[in-house]
């Protein structure tokens, strides 16, 4: 594994290896031991063309706990705002010797472009690209589900997971559908028809237009953020109607299975896709998702640049000749 661009690049075994590694790292982070020398001397660049708080901080915390040097590069106030191209930004990072570049970009496919053109030697990690994918979010969601419902063991076979809300714009939903199904879970997408993408029938997931039809049989309910910044096209008549038809409220939580959990990738719109009772209920694992995100990202960094990288191997070959 050289880059992490899409869940499609992972085999089921790759995904389980990341989750198993994260289990060990999360156990160690709980003990007094919070810093490892593993990535000492490695440089990790956070290359963020879109605003993000939690994903960037999460990657930064993960890299620092592994002793990597972290460079934060956000498009605002940088050379990008002066019109620099992705290629020239990448070449600059290459010259600085970045071992991993964590990229978030508004355009779907930007991380793949960065990786395929090989403007940089380092590993490319997709931290969200357009409406395409957000693989580490899906991995941390799968980790959280596995921890609560499978005791950190094996895959997610036999579980049913609802993904509710703005599937159309959600890279989180797309990565989650791919990963959860790869791990053997059944996924049901719940949204108004206007917020489902064309071709959703090929995703392999079930589709429902009514949360009340499915909520009682699900083991986990993943609420997606209503992306107000993308809502200028009027995908639903009003926020109040959306909240009534698709929001997670106390009455719906009462319908859920005893063991079922409530998830949200954050940031939440309280009162819209989830009520305060939903967000703060005993079933909610939303804060825990954040902590798990650090462990999962540590695992991804360890597996991508903790061992021999292509650059290390090239140096070894150079030594021998």
């Amino acid at each position: 594994m050289r880059d992490l661009l899409s869940i499609n690049d992972l085999t089921k075994d790759d995904a389980l290896e990341i989750l198993d590694t994260a289990v060990q790292l999360s156990a160690l982070s709980d003990s007094s031991n919070r810093k490892f020398p593993t990535l000492r001397g490695r440089t990790v660049v956070n290359l963020f063309f879109e605003d993000s708080t939690r994903t960037r901080i999460s990657f930064e915390a993960a890299a620092k706990r592994l002793s990597a040097d972290v460079i934060n590069f956000s498009a605002k106030g940088s050379s990008v705002s002066k019109g620099e191209s992705l290629k020239d930004t990448a070449l600059t990072l290459q010259a600085m010797g970045a071992d991993a570049v964590i990229i978030r970009h508004g355009s779907s496919g930007a991380p793949a472009q960065l990786a395929r053109k090989r403007w940089i030697d380092g590993a490319v990690i997709n931290a969200g690209d357009g409406t395409h994918e957000h693989p580490t979010q899906a991995l941390l969601d799968a980790f959280t589900i596995r921890r609560h419902l499978k005791k950190d063991q094996g895959d997610l076979a036999g579980l049913k997971i609802a993904v509710v809300g703005d599937v159309l714009h959600s890279r989180v939903a797309r990565s989650n559908v791919l990963l959860l199904q790869k791990l053997g879970a059944t996924v049901v997408l719940v949204a108004p028809p206007t917020l489902l993408p064309v071709g959703v029938e090929h995703w392999g997931a079930q589709v429902s237009f009514a949360i009340d039809d499915v909520i009682a049989e699900c083991d986990a309910v993943m609420m997606l953020r209503v992306q107000k910044e993308r809502m200028e096209d009027l995908f639903f008549p009003s926020e109040r109607e959306y909240a009534r038809n698709f929001g997670l409220n106390a009455a719906r939580i009462a319908e859920m299975k005893e063991s079922a959990i409530v998830m949200h990738p954050g940031p939440m719109n309280r009162g819209l896709e989830i009520t305060a009772e939903g967000a703060d209920s005993k079933r909610s694992v939303i804060v825990e998702q954040v902590a798990n995100g650090v462990s999962v990202r540590m695992a991804v960094l360890y597996l991508l640049i903790g061992g021999a990288t292509s650059r290390d191997l090239a140096a070894q070959i150079g030594d021998q000749s």
Binding site: D20, K35, T38, L66, Y302
Partner: protein, 177 residues
């Protein structure tokens, strides 16, 4: 391929090491046995059994994964991590006995010492190994040795333990006889 220790010899060596650990530390009350995965964990469990038999008192037992502290991480693909489990009391002010199967370059033990530094401040750190095959690359020695086996660097020592491998046996592979 030649067998250098059979099951009975392994058992005798571990029984002796258990006695030596108790003698050196004046009993087992302040001792923590920390097995280094994979086979060090099994050997630590067996030493704990022996100590229970001798002293009629349980000894604290744990595992220490040293993967994240290795100095050769960048020379090969990333290795899978294994659990680190410490006794609830922690390791501060205790006599920690690291337990491994084969003592070779000393680099595993160096990594273990780094890992311990992060976890606390033991009173002493000691090292128990089933086999010492020589070829140290660092100034590190063992306190308790099951058997010293002179080897050539090209040979490899294989420790089989019934819990993992189905039988108890120590073999040298790659020896021309």
């Amino acid at each position: 391929m030649s067998v250098v220790l059979n099951a009975a010899e392994i058992a005798r060596a571990l029984r002796r090491i258990a006695h030596e650990i108790l003698e050196k530390n004046h009993g087992s009350s302040e001792v923590i046995l920390l097995g280094i995965p994979t086979r060090g964990v099994v050997i630590a469990q067996r030493l704990a059994q022996e100590i229970l038999g001798i002293e009629n008192a349980a000894v604290a037992l744990g595992t220490l994964d040293i993967t994240m502290y290795r100095d050769d991480l960048r020379m090969r693909a990333p290795r899978p991590l294994t659990p680190t489990q410490l006794p609830k009391t922690g390791i501060d002010a205790k006599h920690v006995v690291l337990v491994d199967d084969v003592f070779f370059s000393g680099r595993t033990v160096r990594a273990a010492l780094d890992a311990l530094t992060e976890l606390g401040r033991p009173k002493t750190v000691q090292l128990a190994v089933l086999i010492d095959r020589g070829h140290r690359e660092l100034p590190i020695r063992a306190d308790f040795v099951g058997k010293n086996i002179p080897t050539a660097k090209a040979e490899s020592v294989k420790v089989n333990l019934s819990e993992i491998d189905g039988s108890d046996e120590v073999k040298i592979e790659g020896r021309s006889m």
